[in-house]
């Protein structure tokens, strides 16, 4: 099955990132694939985090890199919340997210 993950809260606002990491690891190890991870709303704050300071977020980004999974943060919300992007999470658009919906069997949302 092909999943896309929708992450709606920042790494310090609860368990959204940790849950996404756990889900992604389990899904990949079970032979599923992940089409995209998209950070939206408060979740875009993850793009402004020094990965050395957050083990779960760093592990999620490393996992995405290892499996060439696009990691995108909504550019509109980045601007709206004034986030300065500092890590490997790329700016993306809701259009890219909507494309991923077409290619995914299931979307899983994560929030605090």
């Amino acid at each position: 099955m092909r999943f896309s993950l929708f992450i709606q809260d920042s790494q310090d606002a609860g368990a959204a990132v940790a849950s996404a990491l756990g889900f992604a690891r389990a899904a990949l190890s079970a032979g599923h694939s992940i089409r995209q991870m998209f950070f939206h709303g408060d979740g875009v704050r993850c793009a402004g985090v020094d990965l050395n300071g957050d083990a779960d977020l760093r592990a999620l980004v490393d996992l995405a890199d290892a499996h060439t999974i696009p990691l995108l943060a909504c550019s509109t919300w980045i601007e709206k919340l004034g986030v300065v992007t500092v890590n490997r999470i790329q700016r993306g658009s809701l259009g890219q997210w909507c494309d991923a919906l077409d290619d995914s069997d299931r979307v899983v949302s994560f929030r605090a």
Partner: protein
Amino acid sequence: MKHVGILFTQGGHRGVDAAAGIDAALATLAFDHELSIAFAGAGVELLAAGDQREPHTVHARMIAALYHHGATRLLASRECLDERGLKPDFAWLDVVPRTDICAWLGGVEHVLAF
């Protein structure tokens, strides 16, 4: 194109969630996905219009606009409305038993919850 469902379960006090859900709904429609929207739990509070300047009144207006932008169905849990004493009077809104919300969840291909 997929049938996308957006489920609002948070009230107006979580302004980011409501705004993010409306953004996602508009993008979904713009990219020609079929969209339906449900309100349950505190999410039904987004259907209550208040003072013109209050953020949740703005959200209620934007949600109303989603129907005109092409959302195929908007539905709200009767029990959740009754618990809060809310009686939204919108022609485009189906007020349904909670069980119908569950059936709706089973009928859409992707669900985004806000």
